[in-house]
Symmetry: C2
Subunit: 431 residues, 2 copies
């Protein structure tokens, strides 16, 4: 099909939703992707590019003719256009912007000037803003008769002459209001106005917490500059959760399934190197007790159990803590209660597993002392695991470091070191 | 304030959003929560209960007077009412339903009859459905003049006399269409109609993929039974990501920050018990090589490094695989490519860390052979980690087990056992 039969292709993808088109692009070998788009010409919906992994999107955009990109971007809503342009390097970005008509260029440039991952980048700059002295009837007629309104909208915004936001009127309310009333009389102030410079994660929290469908975005002076709808926010929520999952698993937040071998090998390497240093630290702790290991080889056989049990208990606590910090459920006001509970859980499970392991060890080695030693070490390590699992993320968060990314190595090192040290240290004192 | 001064309370919370009211409830000691609600009486917005953790919600509902609950539930949208009722035990549920007027009871009962976590449970049963022969003008007048329409809506649905769905007309399109046209002429079929029995996670994927704001829900016969809006779906997406994070960290999906010590200790215990069994298996592998450990205690000092490095590399691969399976990015069509890439990453990092550790070990122990042994074991274990990390989740998913919940123990056991076995086994052959 890639041999130039554009018409057949056009027929094939005519009914495709943008997302399905994106799927098709991803399934194609890399060189065929820009070819497909050039062949489809104006029938290719650039919205599809917003549904691609960043790596694939940038690759395609770099290989497309500038003209094709310019034409494609012109057809997009401003938020989609910004989404596509923001990952390009500056030269490419300026070249494409340079080919756009002045007003469109200015609007996109303004959005691109907001910080990365801010509300300003995600917002749509097409919206309906009217003065408060218009009547409901006038508004309805205006909507009915005006060409070039935004493609979809859920409310009308009411602004003063300097574009300062008074509030909004949802379409369903507009329809159920008497035509003679003035917008100024029916408008309600938006309670969750977003600043254009706000971080998209904070904005996502607001949407989630107050079940919003869309919300106005204002600049520093309170002037309406755009509107954010929940479908853009859904992607933010998804991304953010994804980043937490990956960070906790020791994977870079931006790793994507379509990334190259080389990129992934490099990014995984740095995390594993950190872990290697931690493992060598634990190994150093073990080497302090070489004499005891020499005397009683059962210690070597058993010591990984204590360390591993501690590592897993700590991971449980850490997972809960990291996630609760991310969703703002864990706050200064309830931190003390959660810490106390984790400590109690660690102590309780420590005692239970201490009893189990003491019995197992006695059955296996028939040395009662060894059972007591592993029991004590187990309790110490599970309590340390609980404390480390909750205090490390809280401390990292306090000093402004993302706990999802950085907690893991600290917490594992703590439980490994304390696990080996407690078990071998008690054994050294005991025998 | 809890001493009965209802009026002051009413003034205080009058301006509260439901979510803030929920925050207030969670901050109060448990016995004060129902008291606050009884004091506020009809001024308490039951929507606030939907924003609470399940544990807290059920506790409050069980202590409230049945009458209060009945009154509160009557004021709610159907989806919120279902959300509140579904966690109660059957007797309580029936008692409350029994006090509701027949039509409301029937509607709620029907929603509750759909399976848990289905679209039918989350949908709103209030919507506007009109016949195709109505004109746009008639529709607009109807919306303007009719009392008792849903509180918010974004479209009108067009149905035939048996309520079979023709499609929908969004409000903004309705406003921009000539009044004389018939609904049947302007309706577009909804491309992403959801079945009431569909799982909410699948529905969330559809919303996300196609950037939907709302979508109709139909029963098995294609009759319109409700409408799902994206604000309900945002919670589902959030929950689902949360469950993945927790499952990978070895925490039960339903564990909440407000759960009791006892509940958490029990649920964490079962996971740790599984891990204990895995650790004992690894310990058994070590015990096979007691003679070697006796001869060369450096083996005991170094063996945790190999196992730990493997465990972490496997967790990286597993995290990516589990998340990609959950988001349907990893499919049969690209599994082969991803497996090959992970294998290559494992081999590459295995070789790099093999070289590093060989150098470290030689510097520490000045035994060249030991360096070669740990290098070989490191390569073997990182390749095993890569394979285990991707194949275990894929296999579990294939047999219908949630890979997020079950992959961890398998994968850790594999890397521990292979790590110890490779390192000690090669050492046994070598020396």
């Amino acid at each position: 099909i890639e041999a130039g039969r554009g018409d057949d292709l056009r027929d094939l993808v005519a009914d495709f939703h943008e997302t399905d088109l994106a799927r098709l692009l991803e399934a194609l070998p890399a060189p065929a992707r820009p070819k497909l788009i050039e062949l489809l010409g104006t029938d290719f919906d650039f919205t599809a590019l917003t549904e691609l992994d960043e790596t694939v999107r940038v690759q395609i955009l770099e290989e497309l003719e500038t003209e094709t990109v310019v034409e494609g971007v012109r057809d997009l809503d401003s938020d989609d256009a910004v989404y596509i342009l923001e990952d390009l390097d500056d030269a490419d970005k300026q070249e494409i912007l340079g080919h756009l008509p002045l007003t469109e260029r200015a609007a996109l440039q303004r959005s691109l000037d907001y910080p990365e991952e801010s509300a300003g980048r995600r917002m749509q700059t097409e919206f309906i803003a009217l003065p408060p002295f218009w009547t409901v009837g006038q508004t309805l007629d205006y909507i009915g008769e005006t060409e070039g309104l935004p493609e979809t909208f859920f409310e009308v915004f009411v602004v003063d002459p300097t574009y300062r936001l008074d509030g909004s009127v949802p379409l369903d309310r507009l329809l159920r209001t008497k035509r003679g009333l003035k917008l100024g009389d029916v408008v309600t102030p938006d309670r969750h106005v977003v600043q254009a410079v706000d971080d998209q994660e904070d904005v996502a929290r607001v949407f989630e917490r107050y079940n919003l469908i869309s919300t106005p975005v204002v600049d520093g002076a309170g002037r309406l500059v755009g509107v954010l709808t929940v479908d853009d926010i859904v992607d933010v929520i998804q991304e953010e959760a994804d980043e937490d999952v990956k960070a906790l698993g020791g994977v870079a937040a931006d790793e994507e399934l379509s990334d190259s071998f080389w990129y992934i090998a490099k990014s995984r390497f740095s995390w594993l190197l950190l872990n290697l240093i931690a493992a060598n630290l634990a190994s150093f702790v073990i080497s302090l007790f070489e004499d005891e290991l020499q005397k009683l080889v059962a210690l070597a056989v058993l010591m990984p159990i204590v360390a591993s049990q501690g590592g897993n208990a700590a991971t449980q606590t850490m997972t809960v803590a990291v996630r609760a910090i991310a969703t703002r459920e864990l706050r200064a006001s309830n931190a003390r209660r959660v810490i106390a509970r984790e400590l109690l859980v660690g102590l309780f499970n420590g005692v239970v597993f201490a009893v189990i392991m003491a019995a197992v060890v006695f059955a296996r080695f028939e040395i009662a002392d060894l059972g007591i030693i592993i029991a004590l070490a187990m309790i110490i390590n599970l309590v340390a695991a609980a404390l480390g699992g909750i205090l490390v993320p809280l401390a990292l968060n306090r000093i402004g470091v993302d706990p999802a990314v950085s907690s893991g190595p600290f917490v594992t090192t703590i439980t490994d070191v304390i696990g080996f040290f407690a078990f071998l240290g008690i054994a050294a004192l005991w025998f």
